[in-house]
């Protein structure tokens, strides 16, 4: 059958059932917006979590009798280990300053010399920021000569590890539910628009139209509804993102892929829903 005829028929379906088409496109758009918002949310959450993890650091206390040169030497050695990112060397003097901040008193108030050891604050590279890998790095650092003790927030790290798993689970679950809800709502909407035209399908069959002849214009229509719905959803998403950026959170992340995914999603849903719905009325002889 002629491609252009099918396309024309599908497009005509738009004007033939204008109200139904408007309703469907709006519904498609809002359901897709839902999915889009969820994708934006996930993306930003991923960034945030990355931000938190990257703040994990090891505190390496060196023997207190080491001088600055020796300390910096050890810093260099640590730097060579796999997974180690930036290192911040804290000399005895800096440690004294830190003490004052922490306890509201200078060490020199009670003592003549500074008893505090020099230390290094070691950041961990991306991809190495899990409990087990950090444990290994910590052990390697501990074996370096001149290192007294390696301290890091084991508990915090394991809490983060556990929480992130948990947050991923929650977000994944919520996302799945959202997507399922959106799909069901879309499918239902398109089913209803075809339900409203079941008589027409019946008549077409009586006039000798084959199933595929009847189905194709509906598929084109579903495809178009998915497409225009997705465009509308993209528009609304774009607006929402810009409003959020202006008013609330200027660093909101977004990727062009999300817009593309929405269009793809819309097309697939439009096609599948209309295909399934039409088939329902084609089954009977």
């Amino acid at each position: 059958m002629n491609f252009w005829f099918t396309l024309k028929e599908g497009l005509k379906g738009f004007s033939r059932a204008r109200l139904a088409t408007t309703i469907t496109i709006t519904s498609v758009a809002f359901a897709l917006l839902l999915i889009g918002l969820f994708m934006i949310f996930s993306l930003n959450m991923k960034h945030w979590i990355g931000g938190i993890r990257s703040k994990i650091e090891l505190e390496v206390f060196l023997k207190p009798y080491l001088d600055n040169n020796e300390g910096l030497n050890i810093k260099q050695k640590i730097k060579l280990l796999e997974g180690v990112g930036s290192i911040n060397y804290i000399s005895k003097d800096k440690a004294a300053e830190r003490f004052q901040k922490e306890f509201g008193k200078s060490v020199y108030d009670v003592l003549d010399s500074n008893p505090l050891p020099p230390s290094c604050t070691v950041r961990i590279k991306k991809g190495f920021q899990t409990s087990t890998i950090i444990k290994k790095i910590s052990a390697s650092i501990g074996k370096i000569k001149g290192v007294d003790e390696v301290v890091y927030k084991k508990e915090l790290l394991s809490v983060i590890d556990r929480y992130i798993k948990f947050i991923y689970l929650i977000a994944g679950g919520a996302g799945l539910i959202l997507v399922i809800i959106a799909i069901i709502l879309l499918y239902n909407t398109i089913r209803l628009t075809i339900f409203a035209r079941r008589d027409i399908i019946e008549i077409m069959k009586l006039v000798g139209a084959t199933e595929s002849f009847i189905r194709r214009p509906f598929l084109v229509e579903g495809f178009m509804q998915g497409f225009f719905g997705a465009l509308l959803a993209d528009g609304m998403l774009f607006l929402t993102i810009n409003i959020v950026r202006k008013l609330i959170y200027p660093y909101l992340a977004c990727k062009i892929e999300i817009y593309a995914a929405i269009v793809l999603f819309g097309l697939i849903i439009g096609l599948v829903s209309s295909s399934l719905s039409v088939s329902k009325y084609l089954q009977r002889i």
Binding site: F5, R16, M204, V207, G208, A209, T210, F213, I285
Partner: protein
């Protein structure tokens, strides 16, 4: 060409026709009459295979109700011209597209569609209303659209269910003249009707049905 062998038909478990046997040969013109609810429309449904008999067999052209596949039914229907009692026009298409639809399903394209559609619309006196939608037509005009759609395909048989029910005498006679004309060109006609005036004025073979039984 059309053969009913001891056909019984149920709808929703209700027996409508019982033990019907008759035959219509190529190029024949026959009426099917009987009181309201006798089963005339049901006989036609059996012919366009909207209904499959519970017992017996219906043979249309080379298709048998016992063996026809779902996929073949549209092929069969395209070769029939059916005027439905309730018209069954597509409410979302105008007159032209309604008639053209029957051609397009058969794969006819472009200019050929236009030529054929305009010719049959002229034949039923509706050329000037080709852009109207069914709701914008009177009952008789809708009936004439249904007639145009039935004959546009050059079917081998026209099944006409009360084609003059909504037409005045003059228009009825015109329709009958059209049917007789295509009948003379070799198309068989099977027409359900109540109209005694027509039966008398255009005498042809009459198949009588009463309460689901053939009335010889």
């Amino acid at each position: 060409m059309i053969e009913f062998y001891n056909v019984s038909a149920d709808i929703d478990g209700r027996n409508i026709l019982r033990d019907i046997s008759f035959r219509i040969v190529q190029g024949e013109f026959a009426y099917i009459t009987g009181p309201s609810g006798a089963g005339k429309s049901t006989v036609l449904r059996l012919i366009y295979m909207d209904l499959i008999p519970n017992e017996g067999m219906v043979i249309i052209d080379k298709y048998s109700s016992a063996k026809i596949k779902n996929k073949e039914i549209p092929i069969l229907r395209r070769r029939l011209g059916v005027i439905f009692q309730d018209f069954k026009l597509l409410p979302d298409r105008n007159v032209y597209d309604n008639v053209a639809f029957a051609l397009r399903v058969t794969g006819v394209k472009g200019a050929a569609v236009k030529r054929k559609v305009l010719r049959v619309l002229a034949e039923v006196n509706l050329g000037h209303k080709r852009n109207r939608f069914p709701v914008e037509l009177s009952g008789g005009e809708q009936q004439r659209v249904a007639i145009a759609r039935a004959i546009v395909n050059n079917p081998f048989i026209v099944l006409a269910d009360e084609p003059s029910g909504n037409l005045d005498e003059q228009a009825s006679f015109e329709i009958l003249n059209i049917l007789e004309k295509i009948n003379r060109q070799g198309t068989a006609v099977l027409m359900a009707t109540h109209d005694n005036t027509i039966l008398k004025r255009y005498p042809h073979r009459v198949i009588k049905i009463k309460e689901g039984l053939l009335n010889k």
